[in-house]
């Protein structure tokens, strides 16, 4: 048996033939010519339009809906309400597994948050359905809503994030603080934020008997499939979901939520295909968000500037009816070598949609507070903030004591600082000005994100003509999965990328796991790699057991797959093409499956994280307080880089989100009504082109033999960590004003001249 089915030493791969190449997006032309079909672009014959009516109160119940008025409106076909809807097979309040969240699908007239769906109008046109919604004129019994971080009784959630303990201890924090020469005790606040993918959540659903066809953007095809099957009481193989392209997800399209479920229910109710697309403001409620936090950091340092204690406590919120807790304090587990570390969380319940995963959940929120506090301590110690971070560099993971599987953070600091010109920074704040008199500030932040993996499966085949097929239900959210995974697939079967038909984005393909946690390339890539190895092994079996093959008897020596040929490992002059092998064997194709999964033994032994260092320059008008980021350099070490062009884009995107966190993003909630007052892209600010300065991304060479066979750590979310803190720290360095409430606003910088 040739040694091809490898999971830890991909010897048959020639890395660099496909992996590592900066290919442009294979779906790019489709997208720029408008031929890429997004969910809402589908219009099956007979399709109707569904529009949700959403609650304008945050707590109470709906007492009346003028269904008759809506139904009288020309074009309205039906109105789905708690009294008139298809029955679900399972109570949507029942949580059947940790990835099931409660949803509002008209199960009652109770209102738990503003923008909760309370009815669905189905009509021949979008306009008729929209007006039908207006005509419903709901009346409510309103109760005073719970709003904000001080809304009520606090409690300690049993877990935060996905199953993390809400408290962690390492060493004696109080003793460390007592022994410290310098102490910082500072509280930071971060606001609620909403994912705001460019593409709103959308579904086109068609029932054919008990078969269900769905077009819907999803980051988790199989999780969605399982949830839909459970909700509607049908077998999974009766459901087909297409999700070839997403216009962004950011975590809000990972799990099945209420609105797409309502679309499926509406289609069932009227017996025709139905399209339901959220309006922008309807995305501020039923599809998740990032919860606000208030974080207190107490830090101690000795006379040399070494951390003696790090205590990070985070207050956050969840909804009144379900549990997701932004694991903000966990950001302090891995970065700095404090002698004692404690992280803890508490929470209050408020009338909001349940918070969910959003752009580095916990890591981003915690990072801006931790990086600000570390900066404050560096200043208290009179040490350059980069030198301070190096002084407290963690050689092993502080909270666990485990060695890192790889950690090129020192190289990130060095290369980033050199590119940025950090050495010229003044230690004191408010010392640097440009030729126009604007205040200039430089800040640094450390980036980190865990190298996660989920479980996935892929199917590979080699066809009679020598070409390859790789099938996996992977998700391209815009990050470039169509390209990067195809590159891995091509290397996995020893072919050029153009010779491999790469299939992804539908639910009838093998489970690729969820596209989240920055783990998709590692997870799906590992399955692809393993499936490729398995199919090559089968092909090699055909050849090495056939005396007519030049590879006959090469079983012990092994063969290598390269450029569509198998060749003897010990004699590269002997080999033959895939097509020749299959032709002689008289088979149309060989196929095999492979899986990807985290390696528990390696996880037990090593702490696995990607790292980075972000440097930011801001300019601030000294009198007017307006801030502009003028330069950012990010150096990241994230294991093997599959496609440098895509990775560059993702990391640049992360830097922009970090800037957005520090300076722009905030959902403004009316404290009396619980309604979000800026639920649109005009007023919920994210950076526009004019805000984005030249971004310089360095990918630092890093080889990690432990994370997975391909050495991939993931780059999806790390860019937002470190960067938000770097910008905040730069604002302090420019102005001397330490703002601890984010986003930083102009009024906070007007206090001094």
């Amino acid at each position: 048996m040739p040694e091809l089915n490898l999971t830890s030493a991909p010897a048959h791969l020639r890395h660099g033939s496909n992996i590592g190449q900066p290919l442009t997006r294979r779906d790019g032309i489709l997208k720029v010519t408008g031929r890429a079909t997004y969910a809402a672009d589908n219009h099956p014959p007979g399709m109707l339009f569904a529009v949700m009516a959403v609650s304008s109160i945050a707590r109470g119940r709906v007492t009346s809906l003028d269904v008759a008025a809506a139904k009288r409106h020309p074009g309205v076909v039906d109105v789905m309400t708690p009294d008139h809807k298809p029955q679900l097979a399972i109570d949507p309040e029942i949580k059947t597994n940790p990835f099931v969240f409660r949803m509002e699908v008209l199960q009652s007239n109770e209102v738990r948050y503003a923008n909760q769906p309370i009815a669905v109008v189905i009509a021949e046109t979008l306009e008729a359905a929209t007006e039908g919604v207006a005509l419903l004129a709901p009346r409510y019994d309103e109760l005073p809503p719970l709003v904000g971080l001080d809304a009520g009784e606090t409690f300690v959630p049993p877990v935060v994030g996905v199953g993390n303990p809400s408290e962690h201890h390492h060493g004696d924090v109080e003793a460390g603080l007592a022994a410290a020469e310098k102490r910082i005790d500072a509280t930071y606040e971060t606001p609620p934020q909403y994912h705001n993918a460019m593409e709103p959540h959308a579904i086109v659903a068609s029932w054919d008997g008990d078969r269900l066809q769905i077009d819907m953007p999803t980051q988790g095809l199989m999780l969605s499939l399982a949830r839909i099957a459970e909700l509607f009481g049908i077998a999974q193989d009766k459901i087909h979901i297409r999700s070839p392209f997403l216009g962004g997800g950011f975590g809000s399209k990972g799990l099945m939520t209420g609105p797409p479920t309502l679309g499926i229910m509406a289609a069932k109710l009227v017996g025709r295909p139905v399209k339901l697309v959220l309006r922008r403001e309807q995305m501020y409620g039923p599809v998740g968000h990032r919860a606000p936090t208030r974080q207190r950091l107490r830090i101690g340092a000795d006379g040399e500037g070494r951390l003696t204690a790090l205590d990070h406590h985070a207050r956050t919120v969840s909804s009144t009816f379900d549990d997701f807790y932004e694991p903000a304090a966990d950001a302090s587990h891995t970065l700095y070598a404090a002698a004692a570390i404690r992280t803890s969380h508490d929470a209050v319940r408020v009338n909001t949609g349940t918070p969910l995963f959003m752009r580095a959940p916990g890591e981003a929120t915690g990072s801006i507070a931790l990086e600000s506090a570390i900066d404050e301590m560096a200043w208290a110690c009179g040490i350059d903030p980069l030198a301070f971070r190096l002084k407290n560099y963690a050689e092993v993971e502080p909270i666990s004591g485990k060695p890192f599987s790889s950690k090129a953070l020192r190289a990130c600091y060095e290369q980033g600082a050199a590119r940025f010109g950090w050495a010229k920074r003044s230690l004191q704040p408010r010392q640097m000005r440009d030729d126009d008199g604007l205040l200039v500030g430089w800040g640094v932040g450390t980036a980190t994100f865990p190298a996660l993996m989920f479980q996935a499966e892929a199917r590979a085949a080699i066809r009679r003509d020598g070409s390859g097929v790789m099938e996996i239900g992977a998700h391209d959210m815009g990050q470039g999965a169509w390209t990067a995974l195809a590159q891995i697939a091509a290397d996995a079967v020893g072919l050029d990328v153009d010779r491999v038909e790469f299939k992804a984005g539908t639910s009838d393909l093998p489970d690729a796991g969820i596209a989240g946690g920055s783990a998709h390339t590692a997870t799906a890539g590992s399955a692809i790699h393993s499936a490729g190895a398995a199919v090559i092994a089968k092909l090699a079996d055909l050849a090495t057991n056939d005396e007519r093959s030049p590879l006959f008897g090469a079983g012990n020596a092994g063969v290598i797959a390269r450029d569509g040929r198998l060749i003897r490992r010990d004699d590269e002059s002997r080999g033959e093409s895939y097509a020749e092998i299959l032709a002689r064997a008289g088979v149309a194709e060989v196929e095999a499956r492979g899986t990807g999964a985290p390696n528990p033994a390696a996880m037990e032994e090593y702490a696995m994280h990607a790292h980075g260092a972000v440097f930011a320059e801001v300019k601030v008008d000294p009198e007017l307080g307006q801030v502009r980021v003028t330069r950012m350099v990010g150096a990241f070490a994230a294991g093997r880089i599959v496609n440098p062009r895509m990775v560059q884009s993702q990391l640049c995107g992360g830097l922009i989100w970090g800037m957005s966190f520090a300076l722009h993003e905030e959902a403004v909630t009316d404290r009396r009504s619980g309604r979000i007052m800026n639920a649109n892209l005009g007023e919920y600010h994210i950076p526009v082109n004019a805000d984005v300065p030249p971004l310089d991304v360095i990918t630092v060479e890093e080889h990690d033999p432990h994370v997975n066979a391909l050495g991939i750590k993931g780059v999806g979310e790390i860019g937002i960590t470190g960067s938000a803190g770097a910008v905040a720290n730069a604002v302090w360095h420019a102005t001397g004003v330490r703002v601890r409430r984010f986003p930083i606003r102009i009024e906070e910088l007007l206090t001094q001249r």
Partner: protein, 351 residues
């Protein structure tokens, strides 16, 4: 969407007649109105589309040296008209600092004058708003109001007028030409918008059917071209409304200010002409001290309407800066980041 009549009159007289009926509104580019209709904030019975009327899209220099701008000229065309930008640089700069390139390509001069406030409680139909529903109350008063008015507000309304364009226009004594049921008349732009008082729903002095057909800049407005700037502080570099803005225009003779014009944006329900500040700048040297004095005068009577006291201090600082910039002289080219405090940063590519 609510059913409405759509009419496309062939002449101005037909338009005025069609729009004089209750429930009728004019439609030009619709950059504001269509959003309001989609949100259920405006629910007109009839749209009178004026975009096909002849003679409203010209920019013409008048015999007396004034300039007449047709109401249908779009923001981008006006700002990029070289002669216009040379003669009224602060107006061009203000136009280019507003909205986004796509919106500027569509939005019209007349529509800009009549755009509605960005107060979130006006847009949120579940909130009480005296402007949207007279007598219902004002939820902004005790709500999220850090960007609201600090001048001219009343207990019934603390909303601001969001226009950039109007700010230098009002400083330059622009005149609005109106066609109405009783024929043509003209009023000063400064008299077009009303302060809220007890009737914030009445935002202007226009009567039903009144159609703005042109905005005129008087001959004297050209006299400020050498020293005219617009400065706008906002929470991102582009595509954001002003927290506070100011237009400053000076006529400087022999090193002294012969005449000063100053107006503020984002502070009141109308573009706020600061005549008291102008008065102290007559026949004085253009010094920081003089501008500080002007700034104090400009904000006399200002008071917070909520969580926005900072806007008063910010407005003073903006006035000083705008006057300093104006005194330094109009730049040869409109900055790449128009009206921004970062305008002079090299390497700025676009707004």
């Amino acid at each position: 969407m609510k059913q409405f009549d759509y009419v496309r009159p062939g002449t101005i007289a037909e338009a005025v007649a069609a729009a004089a009926r209750p429930g009728a509104v004019y439609l030009a580019a619709g950059t504001n109105l269509l959003d309001l209709m989609k949100g259920g904030v405006s629910r007109p019975d009839r749209l009178v589309d004026v975009t096909h009327l002849n003679g409203l899209d010209g920019i013409e220099t008048l015999a007396d040296g004034g300039l007449r701008i047709g109401a249908l000229v779009n923001n981008a065309d006006l700002a990029h008209n070289a002669e216009f930008a040379r003669s009224y640089p602060a107006v061009a700069e203000a136009l280019l600092s507003g909205a986004s390139a796509q919106l500027r390509n569509a939005a019209t001069v007349g529509g800009n004058l009549l755009q509605r406030t960005r107060c979130a409680y006006f847009y949120d139909t579940a909130s009480r708003c005296n402007k949207r529903e007279p007598g219902s109350g004002c939820d902004a008063r005790d709500g999220e109001n850090r960007s609201h008015a600090v001048l001219g507000w009343s207990e019934s309304c603390i909303a601001t007028h969001p226009s950039d364009f109007c700010v230098p226009l009002v400083a330059l004594d622009a005149v609005v030409e109106i066609e109405g049921s009783n024929g043509r008349r003209e009023i000063a732009l400064d008299a077009l918008h009303r302060l809220p008082g007890d009737t914030p729903g009445r935002e202007s002095v226009l009567e039903p059917g009144d159609l703005i057909v042109a905005v005129r800049l008087p001959p004297a407005a050209r006299g400020f071209a050498a020293h005219a700037r617009y400065l706008k502080v906002r929470e991102r570099t582009s595509y954001a409304f002003a927290l506070v803005s100011a237009a400053a225009a000076l006529r400087i003779e022999n090193g002294r200010i012969a005449e000063a014009r100053l107006a503020l944006g984002g502070v009141a329900a109308k573009p706020w002409r600061a005549r008291a500040a102008e008065d102290v700048l007559g026949n004085v040297a253009p010094t920081p001290d003089a501008f500080q004095e002007a700034a104090w005068r400009a904000l006399e009577g200002a008071k917070p309407s909520g969580d926005n006291a900072f806007k008063i201090e910010l407005a003073r600082r903006i006035v000083v800066r705008a006057l300093l910039l104006a005194a330094a002289g109009t730049p040869a080219r409109i900055p790449a980041l128009p009206a921004s405090p970062f305008a002079s940063i090299s390497g700025a590519i676009h707004a």
